[in-house]
């Protein structure tokens, strides 16, 4: 009994140190998520103004731009999967990968070839393990993406979309995790290219007319410069959402890990105490038994 008591004490100790780690990770994720949300909020004005400008151009000129033209028959699709660099975030990465698989299946079902692009180590590792070709992957920024990274990714995707030869793709999809609230994050797939110019993410209020803009130098040149930036801003938005979701998922996962560690410690403590009590009881009964045996043998001698 004494051996298992020592064993339980060691287990309690290791669970306690594990709990300390998960607790620290929970707190770190919680503090970072506020920063991530702040970044997402700070990036909102740019996205808003850009969307406004794009819908202004779209409304007042005949949008005819390579980035918005629907290809006659689409044979090749590009999928960008936004995952995290590090694990210990619960089902975060596997959820987004599952969504990506679903989209890839769907695209293949429509007879399209699929080119894969990933961000984050988890996505890279997932496809590498399954020996599936990934055209390009970016890593090292999943919890705090910068605009430069988004611009680089956007540039690559636009180049792939505009390329005329065999490597050119006809549509571009992005799979990322939308941050709905601290508790709910939703893997989402959107079609990025060809662009569907919607009238702003927030519909203009009734009666509010967009002003009649003049374009300098010309509507088509403004559009040329505007649309790539719009694409990059959408990607940046996806990366920021994914970062916030990753941190929220990690916080949730680490919170439940801490709670589980608490449970385990409680359970082990009960068992250890039982073992200790059993040991004491046994010792007492051994002593009592010994004394009785001595008393009996003494009585026999008299």
């Amino acid at each position: 009994m004494a051996v298992s008591l020592r064993e339980y004490r060691a287990r309690i100790k290791s669970t306690e140190s594990m709990k300390k780690i998960t607790r620290a990770m929970e707190l770190i994720a919680a503090s970072r998520i506020i920063k991530a949300q702040g970044r997402a909020k700070a990036a909102a004005p740019y996205a808003r103004e850009l969307t406004r400008a794009v819908s202004a151009v779209a409304t007042f000129s005949n949008v005819d731009h390579p980035l918005t033209t629907e290809p006659a028959d689409s044979r090749r699709a590009l999928v960008l999967v936004v995952t995290s660099d590090r694990g210990l975030a619960g089902a975060y990465s596997s959820n987004v990968l599952k969504e990506a698989e679903r989209l890839i299946e769907k695209l293949k079902g429509e007879g399209k070839e699929v080119d894969l692009y990933t961000t984050g180590r988890k996505g890279q590792a997932y496809f590498k393990f399954r020996e599936r070709a990934v055209v390009q992957s970016w890593i090292g920024f999943s919890d705090q993406p910068t605009y430069d990274v988004a611009a680089e990714i956007g540039g690559t995707l636009i180049d792939a979309f505009l390329a005329d030869d065999e490597t050119g793709v006809d549509e571009v999809h992005v799979v990322y995790t939308r941050f709905k609230s601290m508790m709910v994050q939703e893997p989402t797939a959107i079609r990025l290219l060809p662009l569907e110019v919607v009238e702003g993410t927030e519909a203009p209020e009734q009666g509010e007319l967009l002003p009649l803009y003049e374009f300098e130098p010309s509507a088509s040149e403004v559009l040329d410069a505007l649309l790539p930036k719009y694409v990059q801003s959408r990607i940046f938005f996806a990366l920021l959402q994914a970062a916030a979701s990753e941190l929220a998922a990690r916080q949730k996962a680490m919170k439940s890990a801490t709670d589980n560690a608490d449970e385990l410690i409680k359970k082990y403590k009960r068992i250890a105490n039982q073992a200790r009590q059993a040991g004491i009881t046994q010792e007492i009964s051994e002593i009592v038994g010994g004394v009785n045996a001595l008393a009996d043998s003494n009585a026999g001698n008299e």
């Binding site: 004005p45 406004r52 400008a53 803009y213 003049e214 300098e216 403004v222 410069a225 940046f236």
Partner: protein, 131 residues
């Protein structure tokens, strides 16, 4: 439109750099410098790497260095969008000068290098103009 003011927002990709009221805004478009006063017709134009001047009603001048982007004016609302934008007081002049020298010394002559030089120049000019 005497008495009215411009509502200015200078926005970079990751934050709102400056916002407030102004009497006049000057920015460099692909066609040359453009000044915007209250009552300006709605316009959407492409701006290039350069300096943006904002004159407030109190007579202060705010200067910012911006990257390529857009300027949109409508109903006395001016928004300047640029992937990167910095106010002059946020720029380290020494560092900006060094960057400029280094870029010039590199002497590369493709579009990208020229763009980088223009960007560095704009940063130095922004600080010099503000002081």
């Amino acid at each position: 439109m005497a008495g009215s003011l411009l509502q200015v927002e200078l926005v970079s990709a990751d934050r709102l750099v400056w916002s407030g009221e102004a009497k006049m805004v000057i920015a460099r478009t692909t066609e040359g410098d453009m000044g915007v006063l209250p009552g300006h017709a709605p316009v959407l134009s492409v701006i290039i790497e350069g300096v943006v001047d904002i004159q407030t009603p109190q007579g202060e001048t705010w200067v910012a260095a911006v990257d390529a982007g857009f300027l949109s004016v409508s109903n006395d609302r001016v928004s300047i969008l640029s992937e990167r934008a910095e106010m002059s007081h946020e720029i380290d002049l020494e560092k900006a000068r060094k960057d400029l020298e280094r870029l010039r010394a590199a002497g590369e002559n493709d579009d990208e290098a020229n763009e980088a030089v223009r960007r560095a120049e704009a940063r130095v000019r922004a600080v010099e103009r503000a002081s």
